[in-house]
């Protein structure tokens, strides 16, 4: 029988099916970080049980860490305690930790792929909703709560109901100035912040195939922002070439054998999806958000809608615009902004930094804008320095920081002050996400860096060389 890519991977990981339609799903890789794991380790301690498969578990510190002076102790005592707790727990339970000071430290969804830990066909979980990022390699990857972190630590399995399948096909070619972040913001603006709930999404079509692995990760990363538990893309030559030679990837003949298996990972031509959507890449413009959920997005040159999306109340729409200080029907081109944040598990990889550096080279940020580049990992940071990108940013008046989740969620000191606008390459524009009262405008690295230079919202297509 014809199967979707999702079902092929899922079926290969079912340990047993349970009455009532739940499956016990085996998990190949479990990433953990300091914020959502301490209570899970406590649970193991209370039960007096070990981590069942330490070799399938990898830890890093990312959410809480400062992005300056990482060699010094963390100032915030609570943050420091949480990071220290992770170190203690990993030592006690025998889990590999790439923590602060380690050459592989970084945002969990950046280091997994760059170290070759993430490989096609795997099931991957982490106590973080952006685990969907790893789906770019043709994996079933999704975020879980802390109780489930404990379950995976204890048994390497989860008890789950199989989600429905959705396919989103994007064909055609992207226009200049339009990048993968714009594709996913466009899709979410069409489907809404809840449009994917209950589904696992496969992204397909020529426009997706033509993307690099890093660009694919940006798309899969934001699957959760339309409510989908995860999103995946069938692996192809681009995927295999990315994985080849990485630290934890199979090597030599093992790699060739792995690729032979990975080539079977695609949706059969007549596989059935519960829902399908088709879009044209030519219809996609640089996108920005105007509201307080990622579904509230518009092409940068179009006005904010005058009414809420179908099914949303006027009260919520007005509350959202009130928080942002925008009016229904307002066009945001020329709107002054105060901060630019280029970073997060969505857009902090080397290609994002290269794209931003290429635009900013020889230019200056606007005087009233604070602009911050936060690389996704130590390896990205080192690569950027090797290419001289850090110097381009510094010369343009940007700060070039050390790796971490940073201002995406403002758990460390990197916060946006109340009432100020931040054009951010992160994934969530929720109220207070970047700090109490902060106003977030989501955009691509290209749109963000153009805003930093102009000091206002601009259509990057109009200011590219």
């Amino acid at each position: 029988m014809s199967k979707t890519l999702f079902d092929k991977i899922w079926n290969a990981h079912v340990v047993k099916s349970v009455e009532g339609g739940m499956d016990v799903l085996y998990i190949d890789r479990h990433f953990i970080h300091e914020v959502t794991s301490p209570q899970a380790f406590d649970g193991l301690r209370q039960r007096n049980i070990p981590v069942f498969r330490t070799e399938k578990t990898v830890a890093t510190a990312d959410h809480n860490v400062p992005t300056i002076n990482q060699h010094l102790p963390i100032n915030d005592p609570l943050g420091r305690f949480q990071v220290e707790k992770l170190t203690e727990n990993c030592a006690e339970f025998g889990v590999d930790l790439y923590g602060l000071g380690h050459r592989w430290q970084g945002i969990v969804h950046v280091i997994g792929p760059e170290l070759g830990i993430t490989q096609p066909g795997m099931t991957i979980v982490c106590g973080d909703s952006h685990t969907s990022t790893h789906g770019a390699f043709g994996t079933i990857a999704f975020g879980i709560g802390t109780s489930q972190v404990e379950q995976v630590l204890a048994s390497q399995c989860l008890l789950l109901k199989r989600p429905k399948r959705m396919r989103i096909t994007v064909d055609g070619e992207l226009a200049e100035g339009v990048v993968s972040k714009d594709i996913i913001l466009y899709i979410i603006s069409k489907l809404s912040a809840a449009g994917g709930t209950g589904y696992f999404v496969e992204y397909a079509g020529g426009a997706i195939r033509s993307l690099s692995m890093e660009a694919r990760m940006t798309i899969c990363n934001m699957s959760i922002e339309m409510g989908a538990r995860g999103g995946l893309i069938a692996p192809d030559e681009t995927t295999f070439e990315y994985v080849r030679g990485r630290e934890f990837a199979p090597q030599g003949t093992d790699f060739e054998a792995a690729v032979a298996k990975w080539r079977t990972l695609f949706s059969d031509p007549d596989a059935m999806f519960d829902k399908e959507y088709h879009y044209r890449a030519e219809d996609i413009a640089p996108m920005i958000t105007y509201g307080t959920n990622p579904g509230m997005g518009v092409p940068v040159d179009e006005a904010i809608p005058t009414a809420p999306m179908p099914g949303d109340s006027l009260a919520s729409f007005e509350k959202s615009l009130g928080y942002m200080g925008f009016a229904a029907g307002e066009n945001l081109l020329g709107k002054p902004i105060h901060h630019v944040f280029i970073g997060s598990c969505t857009n902090s990889r080397i290609e994002d930094l290269r794209l931003a550096a290429k635009f900013v080279q020889g230019k200056q940020k606007a005087a009233h804008v604070t602009a911050m580049i936060v690389p996704g990992s130590k390896q990205v940071e080192q690569q950027a320095k090797a290419e001289g990108l850090d110097q381009i940013f510094i010369a343009a008046g940007f700060e070039f920081r050390e790796p971490g989740c940073s201002a995406c969620l403002g758990m460390n000191e990197d916060k946006v002050p109340a009432g100020e606008y931040c054009v951010s390459t992160s994934n969530r524009n929720f109220e207070g996400r970047q700090g109490p009262g902060a106003r977030t405008i989501l955009a691509s690295p290209l749109t963000a860096v153009a805003a930093a230079v102009a000091g206002e919202i601009v259509d990057v297509r109009a200011v590219m060389n």
Binding site: G43, H63, G145, S147, S155, L159, A193, A258, F430
Partner: protein, 203 residues
């Protein structure tokens, strides 16, 4: 996990859509390493001003409304996977959240913590909001056993869905982890079979 069978309570109305987990518990309060004490920061930035004084217009600061049931607009719990959202709701005293639509991860986290997510039709949700507006003391009867939610003193009642396995777990206070640990032999057998297929390749 605490057992759950049924509840009769007044309800707190929060008629907003897309209430995300950053609103339920902002990230800066996720630095604790235990599960306790999150209730005091539930809906922190909607509930308190920057100086810590209560915002009079937020429903949790309005003594007219109280109870163990939170009634909210669609897509409740969207966003981050933080289980702290469920912990903060239970720590505050809620036992049930009613909405016309829940985000997936939140729903799972709630069920793992004895907090019952009750998904009702948009029409019934509207009726509940109207009933509370008309009489803040109106009670709702939630029966997990019968999978029903009713507006007390009326004939209005609706059925809700829950996975049969989850229902048994909630009623008996079982955790998934006990079940998964009982499967250790089968999990090891699964690993042996798969490794035999081809070492080092994980599909």
């Amino acid at each position: 996990m605490e057992k759950f069978t049924h509840i009769i309570s007044t309800a707190v109305p929060l008629p907003m859509e897309d209430v995300d987990t950053d609103q339920i518990i902002p990230a800066r309060f996720l630095k604790a390493t235990t599960r306790e004490g999150f209730g005091k920061n539930l809906f922190r930035d909607w509930r308190y001003k920057a100086d810590g004084s209560p915002k009079a217009d937020f429903v949790l600061n309005n003594q007219t409304y109280s109870g163990k049931i939170l009634v909210a607009g669609k897509n409740f719990g969207c966003g981050s996977s933080r289980e702290h959202a469920a912990w903060s709701l239970t720590d505050y005293g809620f036992k049930v959240v009613v909405s016309s639509f829940f985000a997936d991860i939140f729903r799972g986290n709630a069920l793992n913590n004895g907090l019952l997510p009750v998904q009702v039709s948009p029409e019934f949700l509207h009726e509940m909001f109207t009933a509370i507006e008309h009489d803040p003391q109106v009670k709702f009867i939630v029966s997990l056993e019968h999978q029903t939610i009713a507006i007390a003193g009326t004939e209005r009642e609706e059925q809700f869905d829950i996975d049969p396995f989850r229902k048994v777990c909630m009623i008996n206070g079982y955790d998934d982890i006990d079940f998964l640990l009982s499967l250790k032999g089968e999990i090891e057998e699964f690993e042996r079979v798969r490794e035999g297929e081809k070492s080092g390749i994980l599909i």
